[in-house]
């Protein structure tokens, strides 16, 4: 008899996640030459892949339906009902800032998704601790600004959350720390904001609209940081926060300022002058945490409305 010891520890993916993934997938990931894994993409009956920067690397590993269902169950911590609301919105938040995108067959009732079954794709987005300083330009825009907010935009996967996270840490530390409220709807933004010296309040799991409202009314925040805004519903809450004199540091998905202004929610916010600056974020080719920032003032953005 031979005893085989399987070491599931992987330096590339967090331990808690490695324990949930099938052995052959973690083995494949371990063998892959990728300096920094950003996403693990697993598809039912198709090859899994990794996202490394702007590269998609195909893995020689396919999960069948049963394995996918089992993985989904494990990712839900053995309690699918506890994540039903977020699954309907397409994601599960794991601890440690890991966000899992989920899609499959939607169960719809009166135009609203009430559940997802036969999960066909699972996209695990891994958080990374960025070197301190990548959010400094945004932090200085808020500190030295006119009290209006700053909106960062880029295509998905560029690093908006990473930059916002660092900007929040910079604002909440230093010689003149500000009271920063982080509205972390998807359990990603608050990751690594765990230093004892940060004057930061993290509202985990709050819908953005409610989180912003709480941050303004009860937490007395000086800056509110939140991710991926754009809903018309949220616009009202943000305008309300802006009217209380609390600047918002937020992000949105858009490839250009024109695309950004074409979103109804953003357009409404722009008209209320909630944001003083719009910052386009572009990752430098080959650089892991190196970004180029392009600034558009609120007045200049009028041309795109």
């Amino acid at each position: 008899m031979r005893t085989v010891i399987i070491n599931r520890k992987s330096e590339r993916i967090p331990d808690a996640l490695a324990r949930m993934l099938p052995y052959r997938l973690t083995d494949e990931i371990g063998r892959c030459e990728c300096p920094m894994i950003e996403e693990i993409r697993i598809r039912r009956e198709r090859c899994a892949s990794l996202t490394c920067g702007d590269r998609n690397i195909l893995l020689n590993c396919r999960l069948d339906g049963q394995e996918m269902d089992e993985l989904f169950f494990k990712l839900c911590g053995g309690s699918v009902y506890a994540y039903a609301e977020s699954i309907a919105q397409g994601y599960i938040s794991l601890g440690g800032g890991i966000r899992v995108g989920v899609c499959g067959r939607a169960a719809v009732e009166q135009g609203r998704i009430i559940g997802v079954n036969q999960v066909s794709s699972i996209v695990i987005r891994l958080p990374h601790r960025a070197p301190s300083g990548v959010g400094a330009p945004l932090a200085s825009l808020i500190r030295d600004g006119d009290g209006r907010g700053v909106l960062v935009y880029s295509r998905p996967g560029v690093g908006k959350t990473t930059v916002l996270r660092d900007a929040a840490a910079i604002l909440a530390s230093g010689a003149r720390p500000m009271r920063v409220a982080v509205v972390d709807t998807r359990g990603e933004l608050g990751y690594s904001l765990d230093a004892a010296g940060l004057t930061v309040d993290i509202l985990t799991g709050y819908p953005r609209k409610d989180g912003i409202s709480v941050a303004v009314r009860t937490l007395g925040a000086q800056v509110i940081v939140c991710d991926e805004i754009g809903d018309a519903d949220e616009a009202a809450a943000i305008v309300s926060a802006h009217n209380c004199g609390v600047p918002l540091l937020a992000s949105a998905h858009a490839g250009s300022i024109g695309e950004l202004m074409s979103k109804p929610g953003i357009s409404r916010l722009h008209q209320s002058r909630a944001f003083g600056k719009y910052v386009s974020l572009v990752r430098r080719p080959g650089g892991e945490f190196e970004y180029d920032y392009a600034l558009t003032g609120a007045d200049d953005a009028d041309a795109y409305i």
């Binding site: 169950f73 839900c76 911590g77 309690s79 009902y81 506890a82 039903a84």
Partner: protein
């Protein structure tokens, strides 16, 4: 004469031993019955945590009071692999053991409404089982005591 006294003392000891053995079995029987009742309470607690807080099952069972969990005949929970696994004492009633394993195997896979229904199903099973065992327990205890005492008395008579 001395031999007769020894035999008599031996016979009394055998009868006392029989009584003690019967008493131990009766206690075990009562404990089994209590465990089933407590298991119903445990699932009732899980149900309330799901209903009010939507707490994940693993979190609920790990946060349960340890003494209460042990009073259900459960020694420990293992939630490391997504689902909930439990290890129990050998006292727990066989049908209840099977149903409890079945509950933890089925739990956590549905939405809130189906989880609550699942809890209700197993609560009513354990409540029913508890009532049945509670009714049967005194009779079974009497039977056990009778058998043990009669057995011991028979052995004692043979000794004399």
């Amino acid at each position: 004469m001395l031999m007769l006294i020894y035999k008599f003392i031996g016979a009394v000891l055998v009868v006392i031993g029989g009584w003690l053995f019967g008493d131990t079995l009766c206690r075990r029987e009562r404990l089994r019955c209590e465990q089933v009742g407590n298991t119903a309470e445990l699932i009732r607690y899980i149900r309330s945590q799901i209903n009010i807080y939507l707490s994940p099952l693993g979190e609920v069972v790990l946060n349960c009071d340890r003494d209460f969990v042990q009073a259900c005949g459960i020694e420990s929970f293992d939630v490391s692999d997504g689902g909930v696994r439990w290890q129990g004492a050998d006292v727990i009633d066989e049908a209840s053991r099977h149903s409890l394993s079945e509950y933890f195997e089925r739990a956590g896979r549905g939405d809130r409404a189906s989880e609550l229904k699942l809890c209700d199903h197993y609560i009513s099973f354990f409540d029913g089982r508890y009532q049945l065992l509670s009714r049967e327990c005194p009779r079974r205890c009497r039977l056990i005591m009778t058998l043990c005492l009669c057995g011991a008395a028979g052995v004692a008579l043979l000794l004399l």
